[in-house]
Amino acid sequence: MPEQEITKTQEMVYELLVRDVMTKGVISVAPSTPMSGLREILRVNRISGTPVLDDGKLVGIISIEDFISWLADGGPECPVADRMTADVRAIYDDEPLVQAVCKLERLGFGRLPVLGRETGCLVGVITKGDIVSGLLKNLEVDYLNVEMRGSRSSHLFEDIVADQSLLVLKYQVRGADFKRAGACASGLKTTLRRLGVPPQTTRRAAVATYEAEMNLVVFTEGGRVTVEVEPELIRLKVEDGGPGIPDIEKAMQPGFSTAPDWVRELGFGAGMGLPNIRKCADRMRLDSTVGKGTRLEVEILMEQPDEAERHCAEVGA
């Protein structure tokens, strides 16, 4: 098994082009950018180096090492042009990935600027990290294709011989983590689709989960989402450890919200979360104790094939 994967990776290194895995929309600086401003640019963008462009043309590259050596020299005020590496080794975007691997290895560099073949202009940057994640992504695509071929939940459930079958998916949601908010709903959606759950059922489950996830992120220190998939229905259980909802009836009213302004700025907190969840649910139960926590349970019945067809007609697809 590992042997086969290595062969696949080697094959990909030749098949994939630099432009397939490079980072596009690269941050760059001008030769005239002051060295003292560089730190902020690197910090804000979380990068360890950046190309230097003069009117679109690549004239050098400046890295954190250059910055450190500049600091060691006492940090005299000067433009980036004075401290950059001007002898830049670049690579063209249509070269196979293996070229980039060799070049990085040979030169001992962490990154290579990528130029368009015809224009000679900078189109991106490629790092070892880009190569690794590019290969992984492609392996994943292949793997998914293999996985997709044989797995449909209708089959899955037909194949299981039991009086009752149940698939349980568990997700953890962290409080106040806005960057990852929605990741659980997104993961659930991908999984349900892969299992062959009808699109409309998948959508309702994903929307309900997303709203519930948002509530966990905004109001609690995090919680658990458990999804039970049965042949006939999907059951979502969302639990947290507080603060709890003082007045559930009020919380269910469309437009009622206790969300702070910063949540509203993100496009949420308009008091539509719980009403949206109710809209998606065939059955919904909400229990909450102030100071202890909240427990939401939602059941969504599996859409039947004829309903699915009607839905398609409605969308006009």
Partner: protein, 130 residues
């Protein structure tokens, strides 16, 4: 209406690099929704739809993904935040940026015959009656 046509109508620009443009310009858009409220976006039928919005954070892309939107157009020249761009690229959601306001964007697309969700539903009802 293809996304590339929509881009022209809105004087918009592709966002998210060359692949975004080449992968998405032929994508067919059947209807359009406009909102800055993500809870509303989640109630829309996103399949084959374009979302017009003034918000630029990653949650816009999440909501668009959950609702199956084909693409998102950011109005008033606002550029999506880096996390949003990354997420959109991962999830294959097209991104456009138009200098126009929300109202002007909606008006131009409507004038070109692109329906909103309400009219698309009515049309579908008529079709099913026939």
């Amino acid at each position: 209406m293809k996304l590339e046509e929509i881009r022209k109508v809105l004087d918009a620009e592709w966002f998210g690099g060359e692949t975004s443009r080449t992968d998405c310009s032929d994508r067919e858009v059947l209807l359009c929704h406009a909102s800055d409220l993500m809870s509303d976006v989640l109630t829309f039928t996103g399949a084959g739809s374009l979302l017009l919005t003034g918000l630029t954070n990653a949650q816009v892309i999440r909501a668009a993904e959950i609702s199956d939107f084909a693409g998102v157009c950011f109005v008033r020249g606002k550029k999506p935040q880096p996390e949003a761009v990354q997420l959109a690229q991962e999830r294959g959601i097209a991104m456009l940026v138009t200098p126009l306001s929300m109202f002007e964007s909606c008006g131009r697309l409507h004038a070109k015959g692109l329906p909103g969700g309400d009219r698309a539903r009515e049309d579908a009802k008529c079709r099913s009656k026939k």
